[in-house]
Symmetry: C2
């Protein structure tokens, strides 16, 4: 219930975020350290997100499967960088069925190891390749500082794991997935992202190449919103994933993995929402339009509800996710605040005056107040609503893109970089050395986000050491 | 790959089952004791099952959500019967992030406790009721003797958890769900089941009433295929799920829970399949029709593939889940065996002779050999195939129903019961005492399956003690 207002973003952004997640009933704190409960409204949003991605994965030849939640501890020790990366974050099962286990089992923090083990059993010949498997589920990493959706011990995701016969094919897969991620963010979540390569220090534990999509939040911090990794033969060697090629020679596979997690919901919140609450892009909103009927007497009620019910069915038949709010124990004003808090893109109000005029009022969530309220005829209403939802979707993306682009700077030196990074990103030439990266982090708290694929022509000089540099990188404070 | 034949069911039913699951690539053994990997073909089947059920749940007002995988150990101790039932089966996390935990966490074996805890936070007033939440995911019970799909340490399921203001409403919910389960089994899985009430000894740990659906497998053993429980106020009291009623009095909720698990895939296998492999009901089969093009020369190939591709697109456009098997490294005969092993309901063969006659051959999986093979015109093929898939679906249900009904007996005394139970079920009057139930189990190894809702008129005498009894029960050996 949305009786109390949120703090404004300017007042206290972190608290605005936490309260928004709770009040909009997306999620709640769980009675398990660092874990969350994704409430029905949040899960409906996640289901819409997963449906979009699942469709794209299947259209590109991927299939889903399920591997165990528990992984033998020894599996993690087979890939050196992987075990170093994940050891501090593991939750360990030591007892089962009342007895101490001979070998501890780990609640999966990610599944490269156990999936690699199974691939080594399944792959025999070039005919078995590629394997393109996706697993939807949750994983657990023992995070110390947690925040709903953004960083929780258990989180929800898909993890894609593929095995190929050649490096070229595996890399192509890594980029194909990143394209799917970028497209999903742009078209469905209305979030513009940059595709690029992570620096060596920011790579996934065990990967040869990590690519990411990076988005800018309202407070101008960056959020890594999805990653796609190329492992070369690292995991294939650790788990002996081998195949006989067409000349009957035994070869190691080339593998990839990739993921978008429930963290993306954090991005959706922080990119679009405002001081009144959540703002959801229509294409993934659990409820696209809410109908609020307005009446005072029983006579008004009967006339208004008849029209409201007819409109409800008309919108539903047109494929619009519509909800009728016919609660009688709360006022229309309460309902407006309630659905604004939950980010429903469009509110449809209908009362006695509207009946007289054969019209309804439509209020856009993304433009609160008078600016976003219009009166339209009841005739052809489904088409009017559908068009307006498209307009809202496009408007959210345009707004987010303009905001992001106006907050990316091109500082001329370290001093200016340190300055702009307080309230924006820097897009600067960098020599790609760990030393210069570490210096920026130390002096500004900004990390390299990614080296975008889309680069300006020509070369420049490293913003830190001044050496000639071929590529620019995004520096930003990040979640 | 289906190079090797299965043992026949008559030879070795258990081994037939295991090999069928592996060779059809539904699932594989995992490198974690008692766990399985559900392979893409098996998971596609599970996705079709979940889609059917999810649709029904949503149509009846249920919503999905996600609760943590790990549950504090102390939660289990709040409901006495519940902790006694589950304690021996728990997998326990004792370490997290490199440190010993103050309180151990349990990998959920079922989620009544943690969901009950959250409901106690969310429910304040009668306005918040009912809560109708479903969670899709996996749970873990430390089983000693495991069998793929039928009994594995980790298994996949949905668990519904609902809270109501009155006992009548909660019981209505329990029955509503059982109706959904029965309908799903009959209409989608082509499995006839009996709805009924479990005996006190077979009740779920913590429930006041457990209802189930029970199915008969090919070896005439019973499989409990879904359960729906009414808890009364047991969990509401243990977790303080309370609401203010309309008169402002604090009341405890009445709760239910219910589940169908990946075990249902075991039922589908054992009810329909044969010595050649899996037989899947068309409505849930991942592939409904496989096209096998037949050619010897390049000229033949080009003509045949042109027609085959056209037919593929025609079937796909008609909404049929169709697969083209255009592998060239294996023979058509190999492909026939391969798809028979995987239980694809219909095989469409097309070769040069069919082109001449403008026909194709259609081979039914449920009627192997000549009996199930027909030649039909290419004209209007999508409709022919769709009709045949419906006929196969109906035929599987009719066959399973006739088989089941012919193997249910009405023994006149204990001696005859002991005899018929060796190769069938007994449907007998029972006084509903634990003693008589235990005696049947001891002497015949049969347990009570359920007391079906659908009962004959009148009364009878307990098959064990002879006392007047109002209701009949199914006795059977069970998985």
């Amino acid at each position: 219930m949305a009786e109390e207002k949120l703090p404004t973003r300017a007042e206290n952004y972190a608290e605005w975020y936490n309260q928004l997640v709770l009040k909009s009933e997306l999620a709640d704190y769980a009675p398990v350290r660092g874990c969350m409960v994704v409430r029905p409204y949040g899960w409906a949003l996640w289901e819409n997100i997963t449906a979009c991605l699942d469709k794209e994965f299947k259209a590109t030849g991927h299939v889903n499967a399920a591997f165990p939640t528990l992984i033998p501890m020894s599996f993690f020790e087979k890939e050196k960088e992987h075990v170093e990366g994940f050891s501090p974050e593991l939750a360990v099962v030591t007892h089962g069925g009342g007895e101490k286990l001979e070998e501890p089992l780990v609640v999966r923090p990610t599944s490269e190891t156990i999936i690699g083990y199974m691939y080594s059993k399944w792959v025999k010949s070039w005919r078995d390749l590629p394997i393109l498997i996706v697993q939807w589920g949750s994983v657990l990493r023992w995070e110390l500082r947690t925040k709903l959706f953004l960083r929780t011990a258990e989180f929800y995701w898909h993890e894609g794991h593929t095995a190929h016969s050649t490096a070229a094919e595996a890399k192509e897969e890594m980029y194909r997935i990143l394209d799917i991620y970028e497209k999903f963010c742009r078209e469905e979540a209305a979030i513009p992202v940059f595709k690029g390569t992570k620096s060596d220090t920011e790579r996934f534990a065990g990967a040869q190449v990590t690519t990411s999509i990076e988005a800018m939040m309202w407070d101008k911090r960056a959020l890594q919103s999805g990653t796609s990794h190329y492992f070369g033969q690292n995991f294939a060697k650790a788990f002996e994933i081998q195949y006989l090629d067409k000349s009957n020679n035994l070869q190691f596979c080339e593998t990839t993995s990739w993921a978008i997690s429930s963290r993306i919901i954090g991005a959706i919140i922080m990119v679009h929402s405002d001081d009144q609450g959540l703002v959801l892009p229509p294409r993934i909103a659990p409820i696209q339009t809410v109908i609020v009927p307005i009446f005072r007497s029983d006579a008004e009620k009967s006339a208004v509800m008849e029209a409201a019910d007819r409109i409800f069915l008309e919108l539903k038949a047109a494929g619009i996710r519509v909800k009728m709010d016919d609660r009688e124990e709360v006022t229309p004003g309460f309902k407006y605040n309630d659905w604004e808090m939950r980010g429903v893109p469009l509110r449809l109000e209908i009362g006695p005056k509207d009946l007289e005029k054969n019209s309804v009022a439509l209020a856009r969530r993304d433009k609160p107040g008078r600016e976003g309220k219009i009166f339209v005829p009841q005739a052809n209403l489904a088409a009017t609503v559908a068009d307006l939802l498209v307009e809202i979707q496009n408007s959210l993306l345009a707004k987010a893109t303009a905001f992001r682009d106006s907050n990316i700077h091109d500082p001329k030196d370290m001093a200016e970089l340190a300055n702009v990074i307080q309230d924006g990103w820097a897009f600067s030439y960098w020599c790609e050395s760990r030393e210069c990266e570490a210096k920026v982090k130390e002096e500004t708290k900004a990390t390299t986000r990614n080296i975008p694929f889309d680069q300006p022509e020509g070369e420049g000089n490293c913003i830190v050491c001044g050496k000639p540099s071929k590529r620019k990188v995004f520096f930003a404070k990040a979640y």
